[in-house]
């Protein structure tokens, strides 16, 4: 068990910076999820923690030790790869025993450990198979077993579930969460998957372009995104953004077809934005349909329904109003049809306001709390 701390960590490939000034503290036993668009440097970060990539600047500490230049084997870490990276020529048993054999763990000890881990992962009857004779989910568990058995200080996982199909992914997600609850090893977890990011970690680190955008608890990131990037990245379907002009009281679009009054309590935060563009962020679930005949309020917009997507437990509507495009999430009982013109109200308690240029969230939640 160990905490991980990155201080001003940098990575350059042939002088091209890929990561710059990364600062991140991961507490002992914490489950941290790294998310971000492809190419933002998640894998690179993980590889640097693992020691697979050299660190070109800054310091990396694991536990009490500065491990910046140590080779992987001296860092007390274990890693699970997206492709599992099982040794294809070794049985499950040998795969799991590999690290222990290298460390010259006594035979009997190895056997005990393997049995324990295999039982916990429910792979005890697969021990003599080769990886190619396993299903995706089983492989994933073997990879996990190989990492678990050494009781490392830190677990690193790079999209370990992305090769599984939807069903297995949900299962494995619960499984990993429980596992972490039991063993409590510090874990850094990279994923592309919204649901994984939201549900698995106690902290989400959102990265973009080699920089950390926000690092906070999942609901915090969901409800109080630091900036427009984070807001758009977390949540599926993504948050809807409306670029509007702030006139001191309300947000207007250029064609003047839209006018959304800003609640009193938010005006202070938006004070500096008068006459400038503000991006209004509305999550799909914060649209509500007004019954036909209802009187349009200060928070209502008339949308045209472009596409209706029945998902069974919910309905997604692709909406448009002039140049603005939105997606709304509605209960399955909704009866909207393609081509309908409907009036929607926005739940103004849950909208977000972003600086039209920098994308910064204009509300300072920290102060608000």
């Amino acid at each position: 068990m160990a905490e991980v701390s990155l201080k001003d960590v940098e990575k350059r490939y042939a002088m091209v910076p890929v990561l710059s000034g990364l600062n991140l503290d991961i507490a002992d036993g914490e489950f941290t999820v790294l998310v971000g668009p492809s190419g933002c440097g998640k894998t690179t970060t993980l590889n640097m923690i693992a020691g697979l990539e050299s660190i070109t600047g800054g310091t990396l500490r694991i536990g009490a030790r500065d491990v910046t230049t140590l080779p992987p084997k001296d860092r007390d870490i274990a890693m699970v790869f997206q492709s599992y990276a099982l040794f294809p020529h070794m049985t499950v048993r040998d795969n799991i025993a590999f690290g222990m054999k290298i460390r010259k763990t006594p035979k009997a000890e190895i056997e005990t450990q393997i049995r324990q881990v295999a039982q916990r992962l429910r792979i005890d009857d697969l021990l003599d198979r080769l990886p190619k004779a396993l299903s995706g989910g089983q492989r994933q568990r073997v990879a996990l077993g190989r990492a678990l058995v050494r009781r490392p200080g830190v677990f690193l996982m790079d999209e370990p579930l992305s090769n599984l199909d939807a069903k297995m992914r949900i299962e494995a997600r619960s499984f990993l969460t429980k596992m972490h609850q039991e063993v409590g090893t510090t874990t850094v977890y990279v994923t592309h998957d919204q649901a994984e990011a939201m549900t698995m970690g106690s902290k989400i680190v959102v990265m973009n372009g080699g920089k950390i955008q926000q690092a906070a608890a999942p609901l915090e990131v969901y409800n109080r995104p630091a900036n427009q990037f984070v807001a758009g990245f977390i949540g599926s379907p993504a948050m809807n953004f409306l670029r509007l002009l702030y006139d001191g009281n309300a947000l207007l679009d250029q064609a003047c077809r839209l006018r959304i009054a800003v609640p009193e309590c938010r005006r202070a935060a938006l004070a500096g934005q008068q006459g400038k563009t503000v991006t209004l962020g509305v999550r799909p679930e914060h649209f509500r349909i007004l019954q036909p005949g209802a009187i349009p309020g200060s928070d209502s917009i008339a949308f045209n329904v472009d596409v209706v997507q029945h998902l069974g437990h919910e309905i997604l509507l692709d909406l448009s109003a002039g140049d603005h495009r939105c997606i709304a999430r509605l209960p399955p009982s909704d009866r909207s049809k393609l081509g309908d013109d409907r009036l929607f109200s926005i739940d103004m308690d849950h909208v977000h306001y972003f600086n039209g240029d920098s994308g910064e969230n204009l509300i300072d939640y920290a102060w608000q709390q």
Partner: protein, 308 residues
Amino acid sequence: MASSASRFDDGTFVGFARRHVFVTVFGVAVPLLVFACFIGYPIVYTIYLSFFEWNGMAPQKKFVGFANYAYLLHDKYFYIALVNNAKWLVVSLVFPVSLGFLIAYVMKARLVFAPSLLRTIVFFPVTMSLIAVGLMFLLILNPVFGAFDTLLRSVGLGFLVHEWFGDYRIALYTLAVISGWAFTGMPMIFYFAGLGDVPKETFDAARIEGAGHWRMIRSVALPQLRPVTAIIVMLTLFESLRAFDLIAVLTKGAPFGMTNVLGYLVYMESFWNSRFGYGAALSVVILVIAGSLAALLLGKVLKGAFDV
């Protein structure tokens, strides 16, 4: 209609040929025809000839049944050659194949500077004709003024100096090592390419698990390179069984037949001693050995690598 479907898909060659005329003609018929004329006929002829006694010139061949094979069983030279072939193969596997792998690994792991230069240098002799290689080493390993001996003496390793071609205990190894020198580039590039196909993550995983280079080679790289190894071993096997040019250039079997290998024996018996029937019998033996070892290799070690 269903019957017509199964008629077309009956899995027979005729069914296939009817649907894929182009492939059948140019992918199967033409190559097999060419093969039959230029490779198949010689093989059949060789087998036929192995039952005759013939000096290569006489218009008549004398049928002798299995006499050539019977003689072969007591031919001391045959056994010398057979054992030499085995030694040659072992040296080839230990020296060029292992070293080729090692160089490839070292380059892939970026452990050396200027890996492409090293690759170029080591690959270059592959392009040299064995005559050229032979001539070169005749000069270098010459017992009178050879650079190699001179070098050994000048660095105080004079006790290592031997009659590289003259000492019957080591001459064969000298030849095998020379052939290895010329051959190393081949396994090297095959392994280099093969290493590129081994998932990088398995190396990363092994590193994290604490494996050093030795362990990495033994437990991660080599097992995953088995198909490459099998191809290389197979080509090495074929090469070593066929080899005769280097021996023809360098020793002609000297000293006293101790550097004969099967391939050279075929040449010797056929063209030098004018016993073409016997030479053919030796060829058949080579074919059988090569074929069965290849089959063994493909069937066991390399299961699936050639799945066609």
